[in-house]
Structure formats: structure tokens, C-alpha cells
Symmetry: C2
Subunit: 231 residues, 2 copies
């Protein structure tokens, strides 16, 4: 997806939402297993070219209904293992997907990555005031713990009726933009609700290849460009 990079990048995606790991389903990898090698755990790759390496506790559960009923310390130990014991190989980028909040998962990642040269955090919000309440706390977390904020993405902003093409801002709109101004961080983009994109979840197909002309694809490509050129 990086327009300025002649060679495709090697990217790692680490899902640290231990109680609600959604990455295996989203990428259509639910049947995959993680294996052990001499160098540690082998992540799951989405293709033979091994451009995207994925790790999630979802791969370690026997059944998709299995619940991880763990208090903080066990979650912390697992996240440390994901960062230290996975054989990520050579990566251009490691993306860490966190659950919402400012607790064990976030504190652990922040502490583990302190010694590494990290680019920063991307904060994703939905436009309604209630979501912004939570995201304001996440901005405070990043500022307090010294994490650079790359920017804010507003997701689920506006719905275009497939029948009459009228756009309704279901959950109000503009929240991402105004929060970005308030927090003095970049507003990276605004993603609409597009049922066609939602239908791709779980199929292993990406909207950037399947729906090259939709707004979601355009916004996502612009975000990637901003982050990789800026980084």
C-alpha cells in the first residue's frame, strides 16, 4: 500500500486484545495455527510471499468460543511473550492492535517498547460524543506516558443509503477532527460506513484490492501515505 516504496513492505500485525481477539477472524485466518521453532513462535502469514506476519491469542485457542479468563498479570506475561518470543523476522513495520482503554495491555506495551524507537500511536474513534469521551482519556494516556501520537482516525462516520444515496451522519460527525484540534495532533482521515467493506471481513480479501474506487480505500491509502512518508 505504500506508494513511495518500490518493494512491498514486510509488516507484522500483533493483536493484544486477549479477551476479544478479532484479527484472526478479520483476516480470514481462523483455522490457522501458530507453531514453535528454535527461534520461538512462528507467526501466521497471510500469503506465501510472507509480507504480512500475524500473531494473536486467537491462534492459540482450541475453539472460537473459548474465553481467556485472565487477570492483569497473566495478560502482561502473554503480551511480553508476544513481543519477545515471536520470531518476527525482518520487519519494516510492527503494528500493535490494542483493545480500548488505558490499563494492563497499554501499560505493558508502553513499558516494553520504551527502549525501542517507536513511531507512535494511531488513535481510532467513532464520531459520537460517548466514544470521544474514551478517546480523550487515551490521548491523555499517550501524553502522560510520552507516546508520540501519529494522529486520530474517525471511523464509522456517515452512512450512504444504498437506496437513495442520501448520507446520514448516524452518530453525528466531525468528532475526530475537533478532538484532533483539541489535542493538537493530526487528523489522519475520516472513514464512512460502507456495508460492502463490512462484508469483506472474514473473507481474507482487502477492500484496497476488491473495492479500489470506494471512499474507504481512498482514505486508507491516504493515511498509509501520510504515516509512512511522515515516519
Amino acid at each position: 500500500m505504500d506508494m513511495n516504496h518500490p518493494e512491498p513492505l514486510h509488516v507484522g500485525l500483533l493483536d493484544i486484545d486477549l479477551c476479544g481477539p478479532s484479527v484472526p477472524f478479520l483476516l480470514g485466518l481462523e483455522e490457522q495455527d501458530v507453531h514453535q521453532c528454535d527461534e520461538g513462535w512462528v507467526p501466521v502469514y497471510t500469503s506465501a510471499e510472507k509480507k504480512l506476519a500475524v500473531m494473536s491469542i486467537g491462534f492459540l485457542l482450541k475453539n472460537r468460543s473459548d474465553a481467556v479468563i485472565w487477570r492483569g498479570p497473566k495478560k502482561t506475561a502473554m503480551i511480553k511473550q508476544f513481543l519477545e518470543d515471536v520470531n518476527w523476522d525482518e520487519l519494516d513495520y510492527l503494528i500493535i492492535d490494542t483493545p480500548p482503554g488505558t490499563s494492563d495491555e497499554h501499560i505493558t506495551v508502553m513499558e516494553c517498547l520504551k527502549t525501542v524507537n517507536t513511531d507512535g500511536a494511531i488513535i481510532v474513534t467513532t464520531p459520537q460524543e460517548m466514544a470521544l469521551e474514551d478517546v480523550r482519556k487515551e490521548v491523555t494516556f499517550c501524553k502522560k506516558t510520552g507516546i508520540n501520537i501519529l494522529g486520530i482516525v474517525e471511523n464509522m462516520s456517515g452512512f450512504v443509503c444504498p437506496n437513495c444515496s442520501e448520507c446520514t451522519n448516524i452518530f453525528s460527525s466531525g468528532g475526530g477532527q475537533s478532538l484532533a484540534e483539541l489535542a493538537q495532533v493530526p487528523h489522519l482521515g475520516t472513514l464512512p460506513i460502507d456495508p460492502r467493506v463490512g462484508e469483506l471481513a472474514g473473507t481474507g480479501k482487502a477492500c484496497v484490492t476488491e473495492l479500489p474506487n470506494c471512499t474507504t480505500t481512498e482514505v486508507l491509502q491516504k493515511i498509509v501515505q501520510t504515516i509512512t512518508v511522515g515516519g
Copy 2:
């Protein structure tokens, strides 16, 4: 809201989402403070009639942007205090609003309430497959820890275009129903997306009084009736 109860009920609402407390905003109580009395903390009441008593860590934060950067043990201690040190007075029902997941908050509440005669848990999902993934894990949590499941509510199911009245199932639909069948628990109801209901958030006004004829109100009233008559 209980049709079979001649006298209004006394209800307590405890928000144990410590990193993202949304109850004070939702009920229009953000400026309220919690006070201390001889019997413990005094909850915030929504009216002079004291029919709804509310407790949330949001009332204890100086600023709505303040982040609670706590690991599990501190969260556990706070939740225990909310259950033991709040002067709830005589309540007909205590409703506990949890964050998503199956971790510290849920384990603590489950352990604290083991000795009390609790009615059970209501599980709220949105219809898309990704949300159902998480909710399946919450069903497993309840079954493993012996919590009775009162039923599943499907929220954000379908959007009626205000322009052409065409209903689009933005995030697919029927997930709540099929999960309820799978888990063999009641399906309590299906709430649509209604921008008019969303606009009431933060105003302190309830949709059951402001929008008496909308689908959301009808479904909510039916859910309350099912739960209170069944309970």
C-alpha cells in the same frame, strides 16, 4: 418502566468501566460529585425522588479527559469499594454496567456477587460477526463461572434512512437471535439504530419518555417487562 409494578422502583446503576466510564455523560450527570457520609459514599441521584442512584469513577475524576492508568489489582480494589462502601440504600435492582471482555472487572464482580442472590447477566451485542466473536466468549465466561444468562440483546441492528425510509442492515442482522439459539439463552430484543435516540445521549432525557412511540422504546419496555416478570 415496570408495567407490573404500581410504585416506581428504586434502581442502582454501577458503572465499572474504570478506563472508559460513559454512564455520567450518557445520563447528563457529568458535573455531579460523589460525597462521603458516615455510611460511605453517597451515589449521584438523577432526580429529587431518588429513584435512580448512580455510581461511576467518572464522578471521582477532576477532568473528563483524565485517564485512569491502572493495572488489574487497583481496578479490583476500586470495584470492591463500589460494591461495599457505597451507601446504595434500599434498592429493588442493582444494574452493573461492565466493559467488554472477561478479565479483572468481570472476575471481580463475579467473585463479589457469588454470595448474593443475583438474577444474572444480560449480554449486549451488535449484529456483525466480529462482535459476535467477542460475545461468544462472554457467554462461555458466564457458563464457566456459573452466572445465569438472562438473555442477549442485539443493538445497532438496521438503520432506517430518514430520507427514503429504506431499512439497511448496516452491520448484517440476526446475529443476536442466532447466538441466543446457539447458547440456548433467551433473545430479549433487537434495537435498531435511531439517530433521534443517539441525540438524547448527554441531555439527561430518556427515550422512553421523549420518544414513546419509537421502536427503541417499544423494545426496551418489552425487555424490562420480560426481565422483571421473569425475575
